[in-house]
């Protein structure tokens, strides 16, 4: 599904504080895989996820999406990929505080141009999957951390993406909520979606089928 060939990413290129965030990254991600990306802070986990999520472009190397080089995609097409093919979950939830749960989950469908009437059933279904159906009309600021993250997961999967990318998804959660969120990721994975989780937490790493350990921008070990 995804292939990265010799991906390099350099921040502040040509300046004094030039920084190699990713160096010669080669990686395959197949449908149905559950991958943990681990490593210390600054190892390049988030940069790798940013590139996988089409939020950023590599400075060199080729990112293939089903054998199509993403480097040739326009900004608009990359945005459409994020909207339809890739679900993103981040540590700070990235939810709009003034919107309700329903409105937040509805946002990717709205951007995709789905009609209001066609959205309702799907949103109810996804909220049911993450156990948030009774909070549909609650504002985000009224929710706990776990509920926010479940809402973020619902939003990530509303357009039925092929892959879910999660950057430290349990970093702001207590242990009960961490378990609940991880269970959701496992359920998604079992339904055939690829899940990539960037994490420091060894307990989460253990729950993933494949582990990519990063250090100083390089993949140190694949297991």
């Amino acid at each position: 599904m995804i292939r990265l060939d010799n991906i390099n990413k350099i921040y502040n290129k040509g300046r004094k504080n030039e920084f190699y965030a990713l160096i010669d990254i080669n990686l395959h991600i197949y449908p149905g895989e559950m991958i943990a990306v681990t490593g210390k802070s600054g190892a390049g986990k988030s940069t790798l996820l940013n590139i996988l999520a089409c939020m950023d472009r590599p400075d060199s190397g080729i990112y293939y999406w089903y054998d199509q080089p993403v480097g040739r995609f326009s900004e608009k097409r990359m945005a459409r990929m994020r909207n339809e093919k890739i679900g993103i979950v981040v540590q700070d939830f990235a939810l709009i505080e003034d919107f309700t749960v329903y409105e937040n989950v509805s946002l990717p469908m709205e951007i995709a141009g789905r009609k209001r009437s066609g959205r309702r059933d799907k949103i109810q279904e996804v909220l049911h999957i993450v156990g948030m159906e009774s909070y549909a009309n609650c504002k985000i600021r009224e929710l706990s951390g776990g509920q926010k993250q479940r809402t973020a997961i619902a939003r990530a999967i509303i357009n039925e993406p092929d892959i879910v990318l999660a950057d430290e998804p349990t970093g702001a959660l207590d242990s009960d909520n961490t378990k609940m969120v991880m269970q959701l990721f496992k359920d998604l994975n079992e339904s055939g979606k690829a899940v990539v989780i960037a994490t420091h937490d060894p307990d989460i790493t253990k729950q993933c089928g494949k582990i990519i350990e990063m250090e100083d921008g390089r993949i140190r070990q694949h297991t």
Partner: protein, 408 residues
């Protein structure tokens, strides 16, 4: 969708947006004021342009004409004498009346002036009427007049009588309108920068003791067929514009110049070209005094609103990041920002319009604001400059931010 999301952002930071709108509103009002001053000055000059924009002379004949000996006792009117000696020139002037104005049996102490049609037209556009109307096309058998605020209590519909010094017949004059207290009339105004168009305008508010009766020469000419003395009792006095014909020989011109020098009791005399130049210089100086101050004021407020808009974009940059995460392109995020700016601008225009109307209603006579093409154009220009400035600054802020990555 962009508009909806933009409205949401505005609702979320409504206090900041309100502040921004008020700032812009003040800018627009200042700009309208500035444009009103400019257009007001130019408009007045432009009204006189058809008179002073030609070759000839402006003469302030405070003592009137000195009749050439050969014309004494010929029964010619002052205008006819001028036309005899300046045959191809166009004469535009004000006249005094050889007669008294009576109300019942008492002579009124009133400054009565008769105007040629060109001057009546200029004044008609300038003066404001408190009661009744300005002069209209008059085919009747009465002379019409417009009067200033007066302690005789004369008002619209009242009739006074004109009795010539050399006659006993009483000629009725019907008052059709009463001027507002602060009206501006055409009368020599001895102020700075003599002589420009501004010296021909006289504001009655500065001279509350003077009572002013305005009459039009057309009425006298029309009724002169039945009553010839009506023409004879008008005598050019005050403002006299002598426009030379377009093609005039040097010899003819010298003859005209000599007649003017010998036969007019002159307090002031300038060529029309000089009057025109001095008028332009006067406008320029007026604008030099006012415009820079207002311009600096507008620039400062615009810069201030740009700063506030940076604060505003930083406040909702997180939401824009979220929109990008869920599938919006950078361009779409900028479009939301653009929509926000457009909504702010529209709201500002609405608030400005309301503020303008309220101010007009509350202090109509005190404010300098007017609406017009110039005012609209200036506001549009500020709006465009603001939009560009704000958007460029916001674009730079948004590009610098981690907006475009996941770790928001």
């Amino acid at each position: 969708m962009y508009m909806r999301l933009a409205l949401r952002e505005i609702k979320r930071s409504r206090k900041l947006f309100l502040f921004l709108i008020l700032q812009l509103c003040v800018t627009f009002l200042a700009a309208i004021g500035c444009a009103s001053v400019v257009s007001g000055q130019y408009w007045r000059y432009d009204a006189f342009k058809s008179i002073i924009g030609k070759e000839g002379w402006f003469v302030n004949t405070n003592l009137g004409l000195r009749i050439p000996e050969a014309d004494a006792g010929t029964g010619r009117s002052g205008r006819e004498i001028l036309e005899k000696y300046l045959p191809d020139a166009n004469i535009i002037c004000t006249y005094s009346i050889f007669g008294d104005i009576f109300m019942d049996d008492a002579v009124l102490d009133i400054d009565s002036t008769v105007y040629d049609p060109e001057l009546i037209d200029i004044m008609g556009a300038e003066t404001e009427i408190a009661e009744g109307r300005w002069f209209a096309k008059n085919d009747g058998r009465e002379i019409e007049a417009v009067i200033s605020q007066n302690y005789y209590g004369l008002t619209e519909g009242d009739v006074v009588n004109l009795v010539a010094y050399a006659g006993e017949e009483s000629i009725p004059i019907r008052i059709v309108g009463v001027l507002k207290e602060d009206s501006t009339v055409i009368k020599m105004n001895y102020s700075s920068d003599m002589v420009g168009y501004h010296n021909f305008l006289y504001n009655l508010q500065g001279d509350p003791g003077t009572q002013f009766l305005i009459l039009q020469e057309e009425d006298f000419s029309r009724l002169a067929a039945a009553n010839p003395q009506l023409k004879e009792i008008l005598w050019p006095q005050g403002l006299l514009f002598i426009q030379y014909p377009d093609r005039i020989s040097d010899e003819e011109k010298a003859g005209y110049d000599n007649f003017i020098a010998d036969n007019l009791e002159i307090r002031l005399k300038e060529t029309l070209e000089t009057v025109d130049q001095k008028s332009k210089r006067y406008i320029k100086r007026q604008l030099n005094d006012i415009v820079p101050v207002l311009l600096v004021f507008c620039i400062m407020i615009v810069m201030s609103t740009v700063c506030v808009s940076v604060i505003e974009v930083r406040q909702h940059i997180t939401n824009l990041s979220i929109y990008r995460i869920v599938g919006m392109s950078r361009k779409s995020c900028f479009l939301i920002q653009l929509c926000i700016n457009i909504i702010i601008l529209c709201l500002t225009m609405a608030v400005t319009a309301i503020a303008f109307i309220v101010m007009q209603r509350l202090g109509k006579d005190m404010i300098i604001w007017n609406t017009g093409i110039l005012q609209t154009a200036v506001c549009a220009f500020i709006a465009v400059v603001w939009m560009i400035l704000v958007f460029v600054v916001q674009y730079k802020v948004m590009n610098k931010h981690e907006l475009w990555r996941m770790n928001i």
